[in-house]
Every structure is written in structure tokens, then in C-alpha cells.
């Protein structure tokens, strides 16, 4: 992420030599800061994960290993509902990420303004993030029950026939996506709030002096200066959406049938069935897929900065 903000608009934007100081001994930004976290990360995460990539080339029962080359990958691509799963993954990720970015920003602006009951609103919005996924899944399964559920009963009160949220093939995936947003928008909002909070007040005062209305304050101050927050929320929610399966699993199990399966639930089912090699191959594929989407996006979002 690049330096974006003109710091305090006081000093000119003089290019500072990267970390090289007059003194000869070491810099103020020493590499050894990387040492401890680097070791922890490498030993406990990097190494085992690469080891597991090896297992994707084998038939692995956890007890025996037989090397079979790329057969697992071929088998994964022959998975009957893979195509549907890929499409569902794309839809789910886009919908949840898009909604979280937009709603999160909107809520953050609302919650950083001089509004009444701000404390209550902030707690209430963040609260769903704290509840365990199982609880959320069950709660909304009940609320979304086609006949007895509160949502459809409320709609019926207004004379609308609510859909069979979780059991109608056309609605199942979308219903879970909406619950996902309900649960996750609080997190996006908190990140945005932190982003907006770090915009120096001078900008707002200058805008007020200039007589700018709330919309143009939003467009020309908040959006550009909260950019780091926006990028973070986009990246995090997109990764989360592409990999998501907890909520889908708890609400529909990928069903009815296979209609709301995403790649992650396909992989999970293989893991549950004991096809450890196959599910690891699936994880490798998922990793490549997500990286192929996220990495270019990340560089694009971060490069698109005039500095």
C-alpha cells in the first residue's frame, strides 16, 4: 500500500530516501523486525501448508499415502457439480463483497456523524460479528422458514407471498449471501470508521468553510481519503466470500441437493468423506483461483494512486 496522504499538509512532499539514514549502522526500519513473526509464520503455517501441497499429489487416507500424480486434480475437475459450484462461488463472493463495501461505507459515514444514539447503533451493528456462525445459521433458518418464519409472516401481513428462501433453488444461495452480509457488515463498518477517523479534521473544516454540502464532502474528502480502508474491505470481503462456506454449510448444506454448493463446500464434503488427498488438491485449486483474482486486483487498487 503506498503512501497516499499528504501528511498534515504542512511539509512539502519532498521525496525522502527510502530508509537510508546518514549514519552507517543499520536503519530505523530494521529487517530484524521481521525475524520473530517470520519464524512463527514460516514454521507453523508456511511449512505445513507446502507439505500438504505434496499430499495433493497422492491418495491419502491419513494412514497411507499412494503417489498418483495429478489424478486428484483431474478427478476434481470431473466433479459433477463443479461448474455450478464455480458460478455460485463467483456470485456469492461478488454479492457479499459488494454489499459489505457499499453498506459498510454508508453505515460508517452515518455512525461517524453527529447522530443521536451513536453508541447504541455502533454496538448493535457490530454485534452480529460476535455471534457464533452456528447461532446465526440456525436463527436465520428459523426466520426464513417458508411458512412459519417471521420474514414470510411479515410479508404475508402486507399481502406478499414470500419465497421459499432456503429451499427454492432460485433463492437458496442469495438468502445465505444476505445473512452473510448481515453478519459481516459490522466488521466492514468498523474498519471504515477507523479509516474515516484517521482523516485529519482540518479537511472537514476547510470543506465546511468552503460551504460544501454533505454529499460533496463525502465524494471529495471521505471517499479518497478512506481509500486504504476501502481497499482493505474489498480485499478481505472478497477473499472471505470466495472461500466462504461456514454459513452456507450451516444453513443449506449446499442444498437443496447441490444448488447452493460453492467450491469451498465441495472441498469440505470431500474432506468429510475422507478423501484427504482430493480435498487438498481442491484447496490448491481454490488457492490458485483466489490468488488469480485477488493479486491483480490488489496491485491494481494499490497502484492506482498518484504520488
Amino acid at each position: 500500500m503506498t503512501s497516499l496522504v499528504e501528511n498534515n499538509a504542512i511539509a512539502p512532499n519532498e521525496p525522502t530516501p527510502k530508509g537510508s539514514k546518514p549514519r552507517r549502522s543499520g536503519s530505523s526500519y530494521p529487517f530484524w523486525f521481521f525475524l520473530i513473526p517470520g519464524i512463527i509464520f514460516a514454521v507453523l503455517f508456511f511449512a505445513p501448508t507446502f507439505a500438504s501441497f505434496y499430499f495433493s499429489l497422492t491418495r491419502w487416507t491419513l494412514f497411507t499415502t499412494t503417489f498418483i500424480g495429478f489424478d486428484n486434480f483431474a478427478l476434481f475437475f470431473r466433479e459433477p457439480n463443479l461448474f455450478q459450484g464455480l458460478i455460485n462461488t463467483g456470485i456469492y463472493a461478488t454479492v457479499t463483497s459488494g454489499l459489505k463495501v457499499v453498506l459498510g461505507m454508508g453505515l460508517a459515514v452515518l455512525l461517524t456523524s453527529q447522530i443521536v444514539a451513536r453508541g447504541w447503533l455502533r454496538s448493535v451493528v457490530f454485534f452480529p460479528v460476535l455471534v457464533s456462525t452456528i447461532g446465526v445459521g440456525i436463527t436465520f433458518s428459523v426466520l426464513m422458514h417458508p411458512i412459519d418464519g417471521l420474514i414470510n409472516q411479515t410479508l404475508a401481513f402486507f399481502g406478499i407471498q414470500g419465497p421459499f428462501w432456503l429451499t427454492d433453488p432460485a433463492w437458496a444461495l442469495l438468502s445465505v449471501a444476505l445473512v452473510d452480509v448481515w453478519k459481516g457488515v459490522g466488521l466492514a463498518t468498523v474498519i471504515y470508521i477507523a479509516g474515516i477517523a484517521s482523516i485529519p479534521q482540518d479537511y472537514f473544516e476547510a470543506a465546511r468553510v468552503d460551504g460544501a454540502g454533505p454529499w460533496s464532502v463525502f465524494r471529495s474528502i471521505i471517499v479518497p481519503l478512506a481509500r486504504p480502508a476501502t481497499v482493505t474491505v474489498i480485499i478481505l470481503s472478497l477473499i472471505g466470500g470466495l472461500r466462504s462456506f461456514d454459513l452456507i454449510w450451516s444453513m443449506t448444506r449446499g442444498g437443496p441437493g447441490f444448488v447452493s454448493d460453492v467450491i469451498a463446500s465441495v472441498i469440505y464434503k470431500q474432506y468429510q468423506a475422507g478423501f484427504y488427498g482430493l480435498s487438498t488438491a481442491g484447496n490448491v485449486i481454490l488457492f490458485l483461483l483466489v490468488t488469480a483474482i485477488i493479486l491483480p486486483l490488489s496491485w491494481f487498487l494499490n497502484r492506482k494512486v498518484a504520488d
Binding site: V5, S28, P48, F55, S123, V129, A197, I239, N283
Partner: protein
């Protein structure tokens, strides 16, 4: 005057909307937690016909020799230590990565993304931990949570370190500050809103985590709070009322913590404004 009225109405509407959208589902959890087993099994959104608050509360706390209390202790220790580790180490990495840009930067970007995207591999990780002798230990699990949580922390920190003016660094260095003092005494305090955000978010993640304790710290004396939910769940016979009472009990501490930190975030914002 109109502005104030508008803000007031906006507030009222927001509160009403927040109740409908966010509070009603929570009410479901509460009402189910107060029901008898039979009524709870109906899983519908009604007020309980008889209140079983005390019984359910006692049943949940007493279950399996007060495992819930042990779990709270374990979860708290785990959360506090691993989040502290993640915050300090993550900030350090993000700081150097951001200030000292170079060939390393792209690599670190990639490693961070790698950490976010790839799910950990359980069995090889257990082998590594066994080899190091930290399997089935709390400190082992803390290191695991740190390892898994670093990517997210680094990502968040990097986004905001850019807003810390370099002039401050130079001033401190001219004063004779070494890297550690520069970081902890000068920069760290300025990152307050982000630090608090990372603490809040990661605490929730670690506190609510159940797969890592399940695999890396098995044993009833090591239970963490999410694992206690399994006491009431069964593929064939779930005790919904106790399950929801349990969910309620384990949601309350994070909620309280968040309410507390909420004030800190507000205070942090005021701090950032002055800086």
C-alpha cells in the same frame, strides 16, 4: 436548526431500523434460551410459555463438571496472549514493510495474501508441533493463532501506517531514538484507532475459533468456549434450549468487551484528530 432536526430524525429512524434488522434475530436466541427442551425443539419465534431461565442457566454452567467456566478461562488466556502477539508483531512487520519499500515489498504482499487465502493444513501442522514439542499445549496454540492471524493484522496495519507522517520519524531519529524506541514510543501510540480495531476484530476471531482448539489442543481440561456448544448438539438429538443458552452466555463477554472498547475507539478518534 433544520440540520439538528434532521439529525435527530435520522437517528430515530436508524435506531428503529437497527432494532428490526439487528435486534430481532438476537431476540430469537434469547427466547429460545429461556424455553423448555420440548418447546425449544419447535424452533419457532414465540415467547416461552414458561420461563426456564434459571434452570437452563444452571444446566449449561454445570454441564460436564463446569466445563463452561474452564472454557472461559482458557479462551480468555488464549485470546489475550495471541491477540497481543498478533498486534505487536503484525504492526512491526507492517511498519518496516511500509517504510522500507523495495524488492521485499511485493514478496511480503504475496505472503500476506497467501496467509489469508490458504486454509491451514491440520495434520502436517500437528506433525510440526509434535516435532517441536508444543502440541497439546496452550502456548503451542497461542503460537498457532498468532501464525494464522498475522496476515490479517499486517493487512490492516499497512493500510493505516501510511497516514503516520515521516517527519515524526526523522524528528525522533535526530533525537537519538533507535528503531525500537522509534516504533514503540512514537509510532505505536499514533496507530491507536487501528490497533483497537485489530484488537477487537482479532479477539472476536480467536474467541470464537473452534477448529484450532479442536485439533491442536484436545482434551476436556483444555476446552475453549465454542467447543462447549458441542455438548448440546448432536446429529440426532440437539437440546436447542441449552444450546442457545450456551450461545447467549458465550456471546456476552465479547459484547461487553466491545462496548468497552467502543468508548476507546471514540477516544482514539479524538486522539487522531489532535495528532
Amino acid at each position: 436548526m433544520r440540520k439538528r432536526v434532521r439529525k435527530y430524525w435520522l437517528g430515530v429512524v436508524s435506531v428503529l431500523a437497527s432494532i428490526v434488522i439487528f435486534v430481532i434475530p438476537f431476540l430469537f436466541i434469547v427466547t429460545t434460551a429461556l424455553k423448555s427442551k420440548r418447546e425449544a425443539a419447535l424452533l419457532d419465534f414465540t415467547w416461552p410459555t414458561e420461563l426456564h431461565l434459571w434452570e437452563n442457566l444452571v444446566a449449561v454452567i454445570q454441564a460436564r463438571d463446569f466445563i463452561l467456566l474452564t472454557a472461559f478461562v482458557n479462551s480468555t488466556v488464549l485470546t489475550v496472549t495471541s491477540v497481543a502477539g498478533m498486534v505487536v508483531l503484525g504492526a512491526m512487520v507492517a511498519w518496516v514493510a511500509e517504510r522500507r519499500r523495495g524488492r521485499w515489498t511485493k514478496l511480503i504482499d504475496f505472503i500476506v495474501l497467501f496467509g489469508l487465502i490458504v486454509p491451514p493444513a491440520v495434520v502436517p501442522t500437528i506433525w510440526v508441533m509434535q516435532g517441536l514439542g508444543i502440541f497439546k499445549t496452550l502456548h503451542g496454540l497461542v503460537l498457532i493463532e498468532i501464525a494464522f492471524g498475522l496476515s490479517f493484522s499486517i493487512l490492516l496495519f499497512r493500510a493505516f501506517i501510511a497516514t503516520v507522517p515521516k517527519e515524526l520519524d526523522e524528528a525522533a531519529v535526530l533525537d537519538g531514538a533507535g528503531p525500537l524506541r522509534l516504533f514503540f514510543q512514537v509510532v505505536f501510540p499514533l496507530l491507536r484507532p487501528v490497533i483497537i480495531t485489530v484488537i477487537v476484530v482479532q479477539s472476536v476471531v480467536v474467541f470464537n475459533d473452534f477448529t484450532n482448539p479442536l485439533y491442536f489442543l484436545p482434551g476436556d481440561e483444555n476446552a475453549t468456549v465454542q467447543l462447549t456448544l458441542f455438548n448440546f448438539q448432536d446429529q440426532f438429538d440437539t437440546q436447542w434450549n441449552l444450546l442457545f443458552m450456551n450461545i447467549l452466555l458465550i456471546t456476552i463477554p465479547p459484547l461487553v468487551m466491545f462496548l468497552f472498547f467502543n468508548r476507546q475507539i471514540v477516544a482514539g478518534m479524538a486522539g487522531a484528530v489532535k495528532g
